[in-house]
Symmetry: C2
Subunit: 118 residues, 2 copies
DNA sequence: CGTCAATATCGACAGTCATCGATGTCTGCG
DNA sequence: CGCAGACATCGATGACTGTCGATATTGACG
């Protein structure tokens, strides 16, 4: 199951104070897991390449050359991104098509702004 | 010098296409450096604790207890955050006061949204 | 100057991670 | 069935990282 982050939502009444209570240990752990998946130059480029590819999806063979790494390594990074809930994998025939999960990065950005702003 | 990320700005005419060209290797490297500093549960909590502390600043002794780690370890994490340009350090007398850099996280969030959205 | 307290730095150790080549798995095709 | 190609998994290896105790540094104070 993807390690998606749960925004501790409940909509928070309305505009929460600029700085509320410090983030909980569990929330920090969850957010860190997602950020760790993002905190690698190769994975950032893969994410970007998939997003920029026509149709919003790309297969492994489209990505191996641009990043200049071996196929097993690219496959490994893609798995990390899928496990983090940032990419989806759709196997059609022999090819595996990867696409970015629509709202995932907005969620990360929102948590950063909401929880750590000053 | 802090490894701040340069938004490759130039204001991009106006509303850039939803998905432009893939991120460059250098930009990916820079963004990954910042994200790596964020991708640790302890550092996220430290950042949050500093932001939530009165006056928006806190010294090491305020932070050691809440995270439950040794003083050298907390000091190390704070150094990582300062080097990443996410915290400032202000030594006043015997105490070192840390504060979050106002726009730093917004910049990270903006790059995530701009470069990787779909 | 000597002591104490708050931090930073150092050295070591264990755990994690990125990468690769080799190999396994599955699909399409003849 | 048998082969070829796309992709995933495995095992190994070198590099990096989080953590600690010990120690150095720095400022306040008597």
């Amino acid at each position: 199951m993807p390690t998606a982050l749960h925004p501790t939502a409940e909509a928070q009444a309305c505009c929460a104070p600029l700085v509320a209570a410090p983030i909980s240990a569990q929330d920090a752990e969850a957010l860190a897991r997602t950020l760790k998946a993002l905190a690698d130059p190769t994975r950032l480029r893969l994410l970007s390449l998939v997003a920029a590819h026509e149709g919003g999806e790309a297969c492994v063979c489209d990505l191996t050359d641009p990043v200049g790494l071996s196929q097993p390594t690219v496959s490994h990074h893609l798995k990390v991104l899928v496990d983090a809930g940032l990419l989806t994998r759709d196997k059609r025939g022999v090819w595996a098509y990867y696409a970015v999960v629509p709202g995932a990065l907005d969620a990360v950005a929102a948590v950063l702004d909401t929880q750590l702003r000053r």
